[in-house]
Structure formats: structure tokens, C-alpha cells
């Protein structure tokens, strides 16, 4: 009797888990890790886990911003350029005599400022954010190249700060986890998150309920750019220098793909930060796993592309099944 009830409860809980939008991507991630560990004993070693974690951290931090934007039906294509801009702003501010932590704050403020400008152009001048940020993408690339005169810059900072901000092997992923935890709470347990979902789900209804939808959108533009700048700073501390062409659209697309693979609806109104984390892990594991297997660099992109498509097809159809199950 009680055993049957427990089994039912377990099955019920399993069912509940499988009905979550993140479920399919979590299953995919676990399967991939198991596969690569069997295919290559070096997969789950400390050295490789460090590499893997560093590869995952940046797209995941960027995904946290893009997910919030996607949920309220916006997108930021220029976040990868802010990623490269921020370290140069920090370096210049340091040159002018600011201590490194303050220089970092200036860099983050400038990054946030980019989001503010994107918000103004999108919300006040009514240019779709896809176009606004496409323009910003080129504009900021040029800005970074001008500031840097096209040369890489060394990252300033003492040993402790440098280690804390990314040079220690697992520092970046720890920051990524912190950002994920914070953004998950923001999305699920604050009015801001709820109103972001409402804005993307039904903007008219949200406005009629008295929600200031432009404020929500603006805030999420600023958030995304700031997170992009933050990820850029972490990467600069990890590597010790920054190339003016670092990051770019590649990192942005990885961030967006992490979110979408994780179950965030590209049409807005629904999304999950945890799913974005797992989506980022899936992309990282694929890239790292195939690299370990020594797959040719040309075939590599084919495999990644196919994997993204496959994950998307699976996700969309599993979501439909979920809808039908209820």
C-alpha cells in the first residue's frame, strides 16, 4: 500500500520533472557527458574540467541577459562587442589613474550605458531591437578598435584580484554560477521577473495591469549589456590581455543558443535561466568533447551546427508533447 503510494509519488515526481521546459536539455547534457567519458577517459579530469568550465562560463553569463531579453520579446546582437569593449575601458580608466576595482566599475557602467542607448533607440525611436543592436554591433567594434588603436591590451590588477576575477581555473565558472543563481531568483521570485514574462507574454495586458513595460525592457537591455561587459572583464583577467576583436557575434550567438536550447521561447513570454545554464553546458561539452576526440576543425562546425538544430527540433517537439500531456 505505502510502497505503491511511494512508487506513484516517485513516478509523479518524475513526470513533473519531465514536464518542465528544462527537462529535455538536462537529459541531453547527461547523455553527452556519459558518452564523452566513455569515448575518452580524459574527459572528466581536473585539467579538462577547467578547460570545459572556462568555455562554458562566458556563454552562460551572456545567456542570462539574452534570456531576459528574449522573454520580453527583444534581443541584443551587440553584447559580444560590449564583451570586447569593457576590458579596454577598464584599461584606459586604469591608465588615467583609477585603481583597478574602480576602473572595473567604470567599465561596467559604460557597458550598462550601451544598453541604455540601445533601450532609448528601441523604445523611444521605435526601431526593432534586432536592428538597433545590429547597428550597435558595428558601431562598438569600431569604437573598440579606435580606443585600442587595433592593439591588444594587458589586463591591469594585482594577483589576488586577478585570481579572483578569472585567473584561478574555476573562478569564471563560479562567477557564472553566481550570476545564474541571482538571475534565476530574479526571474522566478521577484516582481521584475514576473513582469518581464508578462511583458513578453502579452504586452497590452501587462500595460493595462499598470506595468511599465518600457521600464522592464529598458532594464533588461541595460542588464544584458552589463553582463556582457562583466563576462568580458572576467575573460580579460583570465587570459591577462584582451584582443579588440575578442568575443564578437560568436559569443553572442552561443549565449542566445544556450538560452534557446535550454527551453526559452524565441517568441517571448517564457524562459528559464537554469535551462540556459544547461544549454550552455551542452554546447560546451559538445565542443570540448569533440576537440578531445581530435575531430577535424572543419567537420567540427558541421557537428556543432547539426547538434544545435537537433536539440532545437527535439525541444520544440517535446514542448508540443508536454502541451498535449496536460
Amino acid at each position: 500500500m505505502s510502497a505503491a503510494a511511494t512508487a506513484g509519488g516517485l513516478r509523479g515526481r518524475l513526470r513533473e520533472f519531465l514536464l518542465r521546459p528544462e527537462a529535455s536539455v538536462i537529459v541531453v547534457a547527461v547523455v553527452l557527458v556519459i558518452y564523452f567519458q566513455f569515448a575518452n577517459v580524459n574527459f572528466l579530469t581536473n585539467a579538462n574540467l577547467q578547460t570545459l568550465s572556462q568555455f562554458i562560463a562566458t556563454p552562460v553569463i551572456i545567456a542570462c541577459g539574452e534570456i531576459m531579453l528574449l522573454i520580453c520579446r527583444e534581443i541584443d546582437l551587440s553584447v559580444g562587442q560590449v564583451f570586447a569593449l569593457a576590458p579596454f575601458v577598464m584599461e584606459r580608466a586604469h591608465d588615467w589613474g583609477l585603481p583597478v576595482p574602480l576602473a572595473m566599475a567604470v567599465a561596467l557602467a559604460v557597458s550598462g550605458g550601451v544598453g541604455f542607448v540601445i533601450g532609448l533607440i528601441t523604445l523611444r525611436l521605435r526601431v526593432p531591437s534586432f536592428i538597433t543592436t545590429l547597428g550597435m554591433l558595428f558601431l562598438i567594434t569600431g569604437l573598440t578598435l579606435t580606443i585600442s588603436r587595433g592593439f591588444p591590451a594587458d589586463t591591469p590588477g594585482g594577483k589576488l584580484l586577478t585570481n579572483l576575477m578569472g585567473n584561478w581555473g574555476y573562478a569564471e565558472i563560479c562567477w557564472a554560477f553566481a550570476v545564474v543563481a541571482l538571475m534565476h531568483i530574479v526571474l522566478r521570485h521577484t516582481r521584475w521577473g514576473l513582469h518581464t514574462i508578462a511583458t513578453g507574454g502579452n504586452a497590452i495586458a501587462a500595460a493595462e495591469a499598470g506595468i511599465d513595460i518600457d521600464r522592464i525592457r529598458m532594464g533588461n537591455f541595460i542588464l544584458t549589456s552589463t553582463l556582457g561587459g562583466f563576462a568580458g572583464l572576467l575573460e580579460a583577467f583570465r587570459i591577462g590581455s584582451t584582443d579588440p576583436l575578442a568575443g564578437g557575434s560568436n559569443i553572442m550567438f552561443l549565449g542566445v543558443a544556450s538560452g534557446v536550447i535550454g527551453g526559452t521561447a524565441i517568441a517571448g513570454g517564457a524562459g528559464t535561466i537554469i535551462g540556459g545554464l544547461v544549454g550552455g553546458i551542452v554546447l560546451g561539452v559538445l565542443q570540448d568533447g569533440f576537440t578531445l576526440q581530435g575531430i577535424n576543425a572543419f567537420t567540427f562546425d558541421i557537428i556543432i551546427g547539426a547538434a544545435i538544430l537537433l536539440a532545437m527540433v527535439a525541444n520544440i517537439h517535446l514542448a508540443r508533447l508536454r502541451g498535449g500531456a496536460r
Binding site: T190, R191, L194, I197, A198, G200, I204, E208, G210
Partner: protein, 252 residues
């Protein structure tokens, strides 16, 4: 006599060169239900949006409980007890029932972090639905999974749960089958019988409106062209007025 809850006098609203409302007056008392009929573009929805503070009138005055008020925003109108259930259903499909019931009025946990109090919202949502006799299996269901009638009931429940004293219903029975409409009509009747709520309903269907409203008003081209107690008129009479208007428009 009954006590007046809401009155609007000579409301004019223009959008650029278009006059949406050309001096509309209306009133409704507590425990009374007023039906506003009219074609698309007659100005019904504009009037509603002025009464909810969504639009501001170009001229004219609104009174709540006899006192002149300026409905400068949706929040201000709400603070005065005016709630609207919109035709496009101000519900968010991707959010649960209880999140929708508390949209922009969320309950927060005590403490500095201003986190949502999901448990309290669930409990209050259950109580609010039970209070007006709406039967839904779980308040955790996403609104997108409900039927049209259930969604409308949730929208009405949200308005009532937020202490609405003046309830504005924008086409509450549109695009609804007879059984679903019955659900909402029952709900409206229960609210009316409480006696403390004034209800204004916008509708297309003359027979239905005469059936559930105490008084009806006909709007055409931004003006009120006819007003009567529901018991003293008929759908045929209302139709005749509209038909006359059509003929005049075609002749002109």
C-alpha cells in the same frame, strides 16, 4: 434610492482629427448593472478606457461616489475601486492563475529582498476563486491551458479580488459558446446580488444584454442615442433605432 457609484458628464475624446467621443454622459449605481450597446467604432471601448484611466478625456468630468475625480492613470482609477476586464483579456498565458490574479499587485515576503510570496498568493487566490464560486482544479495551472470561459472568469475574479467597487466588463461574453457564457452570466448575477458592486458591461448582443442588465444605453458615432431601463425596451426597439441610423447614413 440607490447610491450612485460612478458618473461621467459630457466626456469628449479626440485623437488628432478623429472625435471618438462627442460629449457622452452616463451613470451607474451600486448593485446596478448598466449595459452599453453599439457598433464597432461607436466609442464604447474609448469610454471604457477613459473610465479606467488608460486614456484621459479631452474634456468632461468623471465622478466617483459623487465626488469629482481625475483618472490620471490606471493605478489612480484602481485606487478608487474601478477595475476593468478587457475584451482582449488582460491575462498572461505563460503565467499561472495565481500569478495572473496578483499581476502588478504581487504579495511580497517580509524582508529586504522583496521576494514574491508564492504561498500566500496561492492561498489567497484559492480563497478568492471560491468566494465568487469559480471552480478551477488548481491555481498553479497556466492560464493558457484554460478555456475561454474559465479565462474570463479568472479575469473577473481578479477584478473582484482587488476590491473593485466599480466593475467594467468589455465584451465579457464575446466569442463564447452558450455553456461558457452561462458560466459567466451566473458569475455576474452572483456579483450583482452582493449589492455593493456597480457593473458596466459593453456588449454587441442585444438580447443577452437586456437579459442581464438593469439599464441599457445605445452608443452611435461617439454619442449616446438611446437610454432605457432594460425591462421597458426590447431588442426589436433597439434594432429599429440602429436601422434608422443606417438608412440615414446611406441616404446622406
Amino acid at each position: 434610492m440607490s447610491t450612485e457609484a460612478l458618473r461621467a458628464e459630457r466626456i469628449v475624446k479626440t485623437f488628432g482629427h478623429v472625435t471618438a467621443l462627442a460629449g457622452v454622459s452616463m451613470h451607474v449605481a451600486r448593485g446596478e448593472m448598466l449595459g452599453i450597446l453599439g457598433d464597432n467604432g461607436a466609442g464604447k471601448s474609448t469610454l471604457m478606457k477613459i473610465l479606467t484611466g488608460f486614456h484621459q478625456p479631452s474634456s468632461g468630468q468623471v465622478f466617483v461616489n459623487g465626488a469629482p475625480v481625475t483618472l490620471a492613470s490606471v493605478d489612480r482609477a484602481r485606487a478608487l475601486g474601478i477595475e476593468c476586464v478587457y475584451q482582449d483579456l488582460a491575462l498572461i498565458n505563460g503565467l499561472s492563475i495565481y500569478h495572473n490574479l496578483f499581476l502588478n499587485r504581487e504579495l511580497l515576503r517580509p524582508g529586504p529582498f522583496r521576494l514574491l510570496d508564492h504561498r500566500a498568493m496561492r492561498e489567497r487566490a484559492r480563497a478568492a476563486l471560491a468566494d465568487i464560486g469559480v471552480n478551477i482544479p488548481s491555481v498553479d495551472l497556466e492560464v493558457g491551458q484554460l478555456s475561454g470561459g474559465q479565462r474570463q472568469a479568472i479575469a473577473v475574479a481578479r477584478a473582484v479580488a482587488s476590491d473593485a467597487r466599480i466593475l467594467l466588463l468589455d465584451e465579457p461574453l464575446a466569442a463564447m459558446g452558450a455553456r461558457e457564457a452561462g458560466l459567466i452570466i451566473d458569475l455576474i448575477e452572483r456579483l450583482k446580488s452582493r449589492g455593493d458592486i456597480a457593473i458596466v458591461m459593453i456588449a454587441h448582443n442585444y438580447a443577452q444584454t437586456l437579459e442581464i442588465c438593469d439599464r441599457v444605453m445605445l452608443m452611435q458615432h461617439g454619442e449616446v442615442t438611446y437610454e432605457s431601463r432594460a425591462a421597458e425596451t426590447s431588442a426589436a426597439e433597439l434594432l429599429e433605432i440602429v436601422r434608422r441610423e443606417y438608412r440615414a447614413a446611406r441616404a446622406g
